[in-house]
Symmetry: C2
Subunit: 423 residues, 2 copies
């Protein structure tokens, strides 16, 4: 569309947050049907405007080319007609999800007749701070609006043209719906100051969700006074116990490490019980060779396996996100648990064993969002668990832990109905 112009002009960040907050008040009162209609409209218009989005995306790609971005980063940035169609389909999937808003979680009546209801309500305004992937712009907006929340988006500067174009299209779509356009705010500045202003805007923003690398998340957590939903970093372990079934162990290791090495629920360290590894080193070695896995191991690992690079402290804490793995050899399940306690990020941790007692010890003692017995860590994922789309995977303990679906974007309100009751 040649006449299409950006609606994401730069205004004061605080004013944007205020506009979002005002919009959130209206949005909170809309019906599920009204919100769904708006999401379907956005989906349709995104597809129609795909040419404009791709044209703007090309600017980011050209810029990336100039700056010599890695192919992995270029791939995260790159949009195609198919990807834009996937954005639209993603929104159509969100339409199918159950709207948690208005759900009465419990209700009771006090002896004096006061009726108490605990009802789900939207959080209000979500601040989303993210890096290179333009798909977050669409996914996060879809989940926020469906759960009755306004959203303030601060994407990475590398994707500024793509994100700006996507939000302009969303605004155009919203203009014909019951959701105010101002419910979706995009911070067009690439200035770091703009993001850090969001950190302390407690008056206008109810929660910040950082999506991206560890450094981004750390910056937000350390500097924000707005409550943060911490997502992401996964230094996940697979512990192969003395009593592990060989076939299950190999299958789970292979899947957890190689299915998608770059995601947060992929395994980063294998912990072997010494006795098991002694018997099965050959098969483990075959697996490593089959996938060209680079092994950073402790001394015992080096004794039992060939080509082991000596592991240092950094390796135990590393989220490789590639076909590299740290290997630790232990002599008990307790030693495995201690290692995970020290280096894990409380994301997803697995034990492979046929021994029920060791399984229980592991599942009860390991402190993580998800603990597995005889299964791959890769299941820590909203769609794998049947939640539908997710806003991220929480590695914190408050509010939401593990994959966060729509309910994580809501809070509750006590609604009391009386007839003059006093205390």
């Amino acid at each position: 569309m040649s006449t299409f112009t950006s609606t994401t002009k730069q205004i004061n960040v605080k004013d944007q947050a205020k506009l979002a907050q005002q919009a959130s008040k209206k949005l909170a009162l809309l019906s599920e049907k009204e919100k769904n209609e708006a999401l379907l409209t956005i989906a349709d218009i995104l597809e129609k405007e795909s040419e404009y989005i791709l044209k703007e995306n090309q600017k980011d790609l050209d810029n990336g080319e100039d700056k010599g971005f890695s192919e992995a980063l270029m791939d995260r940035l790159r949009l195609t007609e198919k990807r834009v169609k996937e954005f639209a389909d993603g929104l159509r999937e969100v339409v199918e999800l159950h709207d948690p808003v208005g759900e009465i979680l419990s209700d009771w009546t006090l002896d004096n007749g006061l009726k108490v209801e605990q009802v789900r309500v939207p959080l209000g305004v979500i601040g989303m701070i993210y890096e290179a992937r333009p798909n977050v712009t669409v996914d996060a907006t879809g989940l926020a609006l469906k759960s009755g929340n306004a959203i303030v988006l601060k994407g990475g500067s590398n994707a500024i043209h793509s994100n700006s174009a996507i939000v302009s299209v969303i605004h155009k779509a919203l203009a014909t719906t019951k959701i105010p356009e101002t419910a979706v705010q995009f911070i067009a500045s690439t200035d770091r100051e703009a993001a850090s202003q969001l950190f302390t805007m407690k008056e206008h923003i109810d929660v910040l969700i950082p999506r991206g690398g560890g450094a981004l998340i750390k910056t937000v957590v350390e500097n924000a006074t707005v409550p943060v939903l911490e997502t992401g970093v996964g230094n996940c372990h697979v512990y192969v116990d003395q009593f592990a079934d060989v076939e299950k162990a190999l299958r789970i290791m292979e899947n957890a490490k190689t299915d998608r090495p770059a995601v947060c629920n992929a395994a980063e360290t294998f912990i072997f019980h010494e006795a098991w590894l002694l018997k099965n080193a050959g098969k483990v070695q075959e697996l490593f060779e089959k996938h060209g896995i680079e092994v950073h191991g402790d001394e015992k690992a080096a004794e039992l396996l060939p080509d082991v690079i000596p592991a240092n402290e950094k390796d135990w804490a590393e989220e490789y996100l590639s076909l590299a793995v740290a290997v630790k050899v232990v002599s008990s399940v307790e030693e495995a648990v201690s290692h995970i306690e020290r280096y894990g990020t409380k994301h997803s941790e697995a034990i492979v064993t046929e021994n029920a007692e060791n399984a229980v010890t592991f599942l009860n003692s390991v402190d993580a969002a998800a603990v597995y017995h005889n299964a791959s860590t890769r299941f820590t994922d909203g769609s794998a668990l049947g939640f539908g789309a997710e806003i991220g995977i929480s590695t914190q303990k408050l509010h939401a832990r593990g994959p966060m679906g729509l309910p994580a974007l809501t809070t509750i309100k006590y609604r009391m109905t009386g007839d003059g009751q006093i205390r």
Copy 2:
């Protein structure tokens, strides 16, 4: 007991947090019975050691006398045999509460046979930062231990001897139970540095709960990187609508303002619909006179009521916690909602009306932990709502909102049981 000595010697705050964390691992695995036995032991020993506690409390009272504390503050500090007995009885009540740990909130099986359970687990280590009342030492410890959490206590310097004595008694009691003594850590330093060290100890503390005045809470929220459960400040409003029943309105106003003016769920502002006040100013005046209520009002309030002190911006935001009230006159429910949006603290907000539409507008539009139709704001309280003891009243939206009982001190864990499932 003349031989009783304090066990709360001063060690490094970080080491204390680490000890609490180690203890939390054991505590998390105890049964409800074992935890209850420990709480009952603490209750018994507290009663037995009441003489020692009162002797130590006297040091704080003497110090308060020297420093010229107000009678209100002295009263918060003062312990008596009866109060110590109440501490013990409070613990016995916690024993009766349902233990949330281990509860399976939901469970399902994926098509591939992987069994998924969402199970409640303790948060881990709770950091409690509080002011003058020594009862928080006992109450918070009881709730933390019952929910399987270790606790690091940082009380106010004014109550240092009382708190230290109480914790020494708790330690003595725990020595004979399954709960490690190290599960209860008391920071004996009165140094502000000691508290602020807790703010950033993310590695060892899972949540901070500040209990006290607005300044304390603000300091914690602004400086902590550990997640905070924000409690307390309540600038609560009662809106008397045009269609309010006179008798209900007067009763609710009286209860909300005068029953216990110093608590957070007491009303601080009355908002009157102009038409209602015009008809009922005399009765409102009678109520104010009956209780000697000091009125800070806007211009219209001053026209309709005698002895109105002109209200300024500060009055609208003020938590008087005394027999003073701000009075705002409006001409619609929407204007009342706007005022609350601007000055409220999202705690407890009430409308008095016989008009169903206005009630719905108010209940849906006002963003607060508790919204009331025709009832006093005083019901926002764990024991009034039937939760038993509460750790505080959350005014934030994440994790827990409103009165926080034992479940607020837990998180969830996904427990997956498979037979070799991969993705």
